[in-house]
């Protein structure tokens, strides 16, 4: 997090491109002297340099306040005609202002071109996209004026056209960030809990040890040296061992649960769940509503009447309606299935078109039957 002072002086070319010219100016001058008011650090201990991302010319806080407090003003650097505002000034994160500028540009481009790999059909497409973005960024960072303008135009056009996509991706990214942040926090919390637990246990153990020692001393003081004390001792020890065993079991359970909850960093987050397909249909969408007949109540047959009073059938819960349903289904199933047509021509085709052929077939069939 340490902030290096600018390593070299910066001159501004007429076209506005920042060019490092560390050789033309002594390093000490920019490090300790404001290029605008020429104040040196010797005179002002907490002198701070600010830049404006419009042109990346650095100046001290005093100059910024003095020049821009009354509203927008021109950059005080000779030859730089950018209009700057007070609000735009900030301290540079990087010592090297070219790096600062490149990072800014990259941040901006990344905010617009924020597609992820999942948005692409193939890896090749994604790679091509990355290549395109990188070319554009390079043009913006260190292209010629024309290239920069073209890249800028492309960027703005893309932003305009894909506003919705960008917004969606931004939200998704934010969510992912949020999730990973939460997970990390949970992990940290769990680790802290474990530490606290361990500390408490150590404490308890120490207390326990002291208590048993006390008891030992007490028994010695009372003087009944012998089997009783020994037994008490043994019992206590056994108690402790039992306690330990119980605790170990509890701990094992806890660790097991932890293992179950253990999350591994770097794992791919699960993609969004597939759209629900509705309840599973074991019959593959087959319709069981009869279309040729109606299942009236009271359908019955003389042949099943006698079973309706037969305990062997009635006790078991046999449903005579089921029998009627099945008999009715079988009476009408396949009534409209014309095997000859369907096996020769195909389901749903009428034999009208192939009537002559079929007549021949029928003739053959009759002959065969005579055989």
């Amino acid at each position: 997090m340490s902030r290096n002072a600018p390593a070299g002086g910066r001159a501004v070319a007429s076209n506005g491109t920042t060019v490092t010219t560390s050789s033309s100016l002594p390093a000490i001058s920019t490090e300790d002297m404001c290029p605008v008011c020429k104040t040196i650090r010797y005179l002002n201990k907490d002198m701070e340099f600010l830049i404006n991302p419009e042109c990346y010319h650095s100046m001290c806080v005093n100059c910024v306040n003095r020049l821009f407090n009354d509203g927008p003003n021109q950059c005080p650097y000779a030859g730089c005609h950018k209009t700057l505002r007070r609000k735009g000034f900030r301290s540079a994160f990087f010592g090297d202002l070219t790096v600062e500028r490149e990072v800014d540009i990259r941040r901006r481009v990344a905010a617009v071109f924020n597609q992820v790999e999942d948005d692409f059909e193939t890896l090749k497409d994604y790679n091509n996209y990355l290549q395109m973005v990188e070319d554009l960024t390079f043009d913006l960072v260190s292209g010629t004026d024309a290239q920069r303008r073209a890249a800028e135009a492309t960027l703005q056009q893309w932003e305009l056209e894909h506003k919705a996509d960008i917004e969606r991706n931004r939200k998704a990214g934010k969510e992912a960030d949020e999730q990973s942040r939460r997970r990390l926090a949970a992990e940290r919390e769990a680790a802290r809990q474990r530490r606290v637990e361990a500390l408490r246990e150590a404490e308890e153990e120490k207390l326990e040890r002291a208590r048993s020692r006390e008891a030992e001393l007490d028994s010695l003081a009372q003087g009944d040296v012998g089997t009783g004390a020994q037994r008490v001792q043994l019992k206590r020890r056994g108690q402790a061992a039992a306690n330990r065993a119980v605790e170990a079991a509890v701990n094992a359970a806890v660790t097991a649960a932890d293992v179950g909850r253990l999350s591994i960093r770097g794992l791919k987050e699960k993609k969004k769940a597939p759209a629900p397909e509705g309840p599973y249909d074991p019959f593959g969408g087959m319709d069981f509503v009869p279309s040729r007949y109606k299942l009236r109540a009271g359908l019955t047959h003389p042949g099943v009447e006698k079973y309706k009073h037969d305990p062997a059938h009635v006790t078991g819960g046999y449903s005579f309606d089921e029998y009627a349903t099945r008999a009715m289904f079988e009476a009408f199933a396949g009534l409209g299935v014309f095997i000859e047509d369907e096996k020769e021509v195909g389901i749903g085709l009428s034999a009208g078109e192939v009537a002559t052929i079929s007549a021949g077939i029928a003739a053959v069939g009759c002959k065969m039957e005579l055989d």
Binding site: A331, F332, I339, M368
Partner: protein, 401 residues
């Protein structure tokens, strides 16, 4: 599309075991040709004996079909003898006929397979007889004969073990009809009795189970028993456009088959986009009537009175005995004995497990999956899955049949 039809289309009976007459005839031709080729090859590779001629005369597909039908009637008689329920007998008959669509009667012995089908149908219908009781009923001693053919039968059925029957459907239709006010119960009872009689025999001995759905078979049988009732039921069901006074569709000449309503479709009022018209409109009613008429035609060739025909000694002597003699000469030398066949296959399997070379040059194991698909005239719906499993496990569906 009507929901009931959609549900029926999910059944294995529809997906695997429903064919148009041409398809079925083509499959039988193919099975016959394949059996001829393989039996000829096996006979040629046998050590030549002085008495046997070079190659016997094979059965034609028509002769095979006749033998299968005869054996189906034998199967139904055997079921009657063992006092089995209608469903078991019907399932057994369906199994038997399905098995001999993709397997030739020259390859596997029909009399053995008939017993196997009966025993397995008991299991399929939830009646678990002990094998000793079962063979005792038929006066046999060796349970191996039945057990040896069981897996073979399953393979032949493509493991489609559920057979949909029209018996319960008949009860459903009677329920629906008895709700109508103007039909006296005595007539209903008589019609049901007769229709059930027909359902017990006629559809089982013909190809009706391959060509029609259970409800169509049921209505055809009902129409044979009491034409008015069947037509009434259809008229009540397909009521969306007011039913015409005379049921013109019912009088369709049977020779034109299920496609008879095609011309009448143009005259029928069409309201496209109207779902109900598609489900219970008059156009579909005419089509259903035509189909039922065709089914009725098929059933009327084998009415229950024909039971006597198939047990008539003179008929058997004139038609069946020569075929049996022919069959005795031309049957498959390797596969005719099911017990031997199973023993040989087991030995082969254990040998394979020992060596674990995964070599597939042993005779019957070659190219099974493709052959299975080809037999059905196209890839089966589950072929891809089967292929995936078959790679590692040496085809769990067994060797070629």
């Amino acid at each position: 599309m009507a929901t009931e039809d959609a549900r029926y289309r999910e059944s294995s009976q529809y997906q695997l075991w429903s064919f148009s007459p041409t398809q079925l005839a083509a499959m039988r031709e193919k099975t016959n040709a394949a059996a001829r080729a393989s039996i000829a090859g096996r006979l040629a590779s046998m050590p030549p004996r002085a008495s046997t001629p070079a190659l016997p005369e094979f059965l034609t597909p028509a002769e095979e079909a006749l033998l299968v039908t005869f054996n189906t009637s034998e199967l139904l008689r055997a079921g009657d003898h063992a006092e089995m329920s209608d469903e078991i007998k019907a399932t057994a008959a369906a199994f038997f006929r399905r098995f001999y669509v993709t397997n030739s009667i020259m390859t596997y012995p029909p009399t053995e397979m008939l017993m196997v089908a009966l025993y397995f149908a008991c299991k399929a219908e939830g009646v678990f007889l002990s094998i000793t009781d079962f063979i005792k009923t038929f006066g046999r001693e060796n349970p191996e004969e039945i057990i040896a053919g069981e897996f073979l039968l399953c393979q032949g059925l493509r493991f489609a073990i559920d057979v949909k029957h029209p018996f319960r459907a008949l009860r459903g239709s009677i329920m629906e009809l008895s709700a109508l006010p103007d039909i006296e119960p005595a007539r209903l009872a008589a019609a049901e009795h007769r229709a059930r009689e027909i359902l017990r025999f006629s559809p089982l001995i013909t190809d009706a189970y391959f060509h029609y759905t259970p409800s169509q078979i049921m209505l055809a049988a009902l129409s044979l028993a009491d034409r008015g009732l069947a037509e009434r039921l259809i008229a009540e069901t397909f009521h969306y456009v007011a039913p015409p006074a005379n049921n013109s569709g019912a009088d369709t000449p049977a020779s034109s088959g299920p496609d008879a309503p095609a011309p009448s479709r143009r005259s029928a009022p069409r309201s496209d986009g109207e779902d109900r018209t598609q489900i219970i409109g008059s156009h579909i009613r005419d089509k259903v009537l035509g189909t039922i008429e065709a089914c009725r035609d098929m059933l009327s060739k084998e009415l229950p009175e024909r039971r006597e025909h198939w047990t008539n000694k003179t008929v058997i002597k004139a038609q069946i005995t020569p075929l049996r003699k022919k069959l005795n000469k031309c049957h498959d030398p390797e596969r005719w004995n099911l017990v031997e066949l199973q023993r040989a296959r087991r030995e082969q399997a254990s040998k394979k497990a020992d060596s674990e070379d995964g070599d597939a040059e042993d005779g019957p194991a070659g190219g099974t999956v493709e052959a299975d698909g080809a037999v059905f005239g196209g890839p089966l719906p589950r072929d891809s899955k089967r292929r995936k499993v078959g790679k590692g496990l040496d085809d769990p569906f067994g060797p070629a049949l």
